[in-house]
Symmetry: C2
DNA sequence: CGGAATCCTGCGAGATACTG
DNA sequence: CAGTATCTCGCAGGATTCCG
């Protein structure tokens, strides 16, 4: 996707055919990635721990999401050659830096969730 | 979706069955919302302007995305009763506040996009 | 335990046509 | 111009089964 020329200088965000924000959101904007990053931000987890901790995720999606995070260098996977196998996931340094803007977004969410709820209710009631 | 009790105090983000970050991302993490918010952050746009500016969006998705943003109180819709009709969209105050954490995320994206690209290439090459 | 491989389905979203 | 209304299809993602 790309944004056509609006011939107005961009005050804040970098736009264009390669929009960085969208690039991040394409990676992390899915249903589970943020949740996993946040959990791993607390401590290292093993696969089954994540599976139990994240209510509603399928084994398949956990595997796929983790693999994508590892691929992007946000998460490190360590497989211990024991029996039974033990695989641990932890944030990389890069992953930890992502926690910062994610926290900013979280703060915004906490601060304004009521505004959104209110606006939504207002909207729904108006055309009820 | 919810996160089960991990009995570890959360250092940064608010988790639990109602995870605020995820709540935001569920709204704004889709393919077009951020793009629209950013464009409207620059100036007011009319429907057709957005349609032309956002390369690849269908009329339908533009309508639906705008409606969701309006519903959440992030965007205000003003329909001028002229002929031909003229509908203008602009960020609300709430919408403008969202621009801030979005900018933080953008900065992270710009700063680390190369790290991600590199990690991705490394990963792909390793198992080529 | 931590996956991989398959099968199957819903619904997200594109294309097209019509309207106030 | 700024939308609705259908119809249709792809594929994201769930359920299930098998493997090292």
């Amino acid at each position: 996707m790309s944004v056509a020329n609006t011939d107005v200088p961009d005050p804040v965000l970098t736009m264009g055919s390669d929009c960085p924000v969208r690039e991040v959101l394409d990676r992390v904007g899915d249903k589970w990635s943020v949740l996993i990053v946040v959990l791993l931000g607390q401590r290292t987890h093993r696969f089954s721990e994540l599976h139990r901790s994240i209510d509603g995720i399928s084994q398949r999606m956990l595997t796929l999401t983790l693999r994508a995070l590892v691929r992007d260098g946000l998460v490190e996977r360590t497989a211990h050659a024991t029996v039974p196998p033990r695989v641990e996931y932890e944030l990389t340094e890069l992953g930890r830096t992502l926690l910062v803007p994610l926290t900013a977004l979280d703060r915004w969410a906490v601060e304004h969730r009521n505004d959104i709820r209110a606006a939504r209710e207002r909207y729904d009631n108006e055309r009820a």
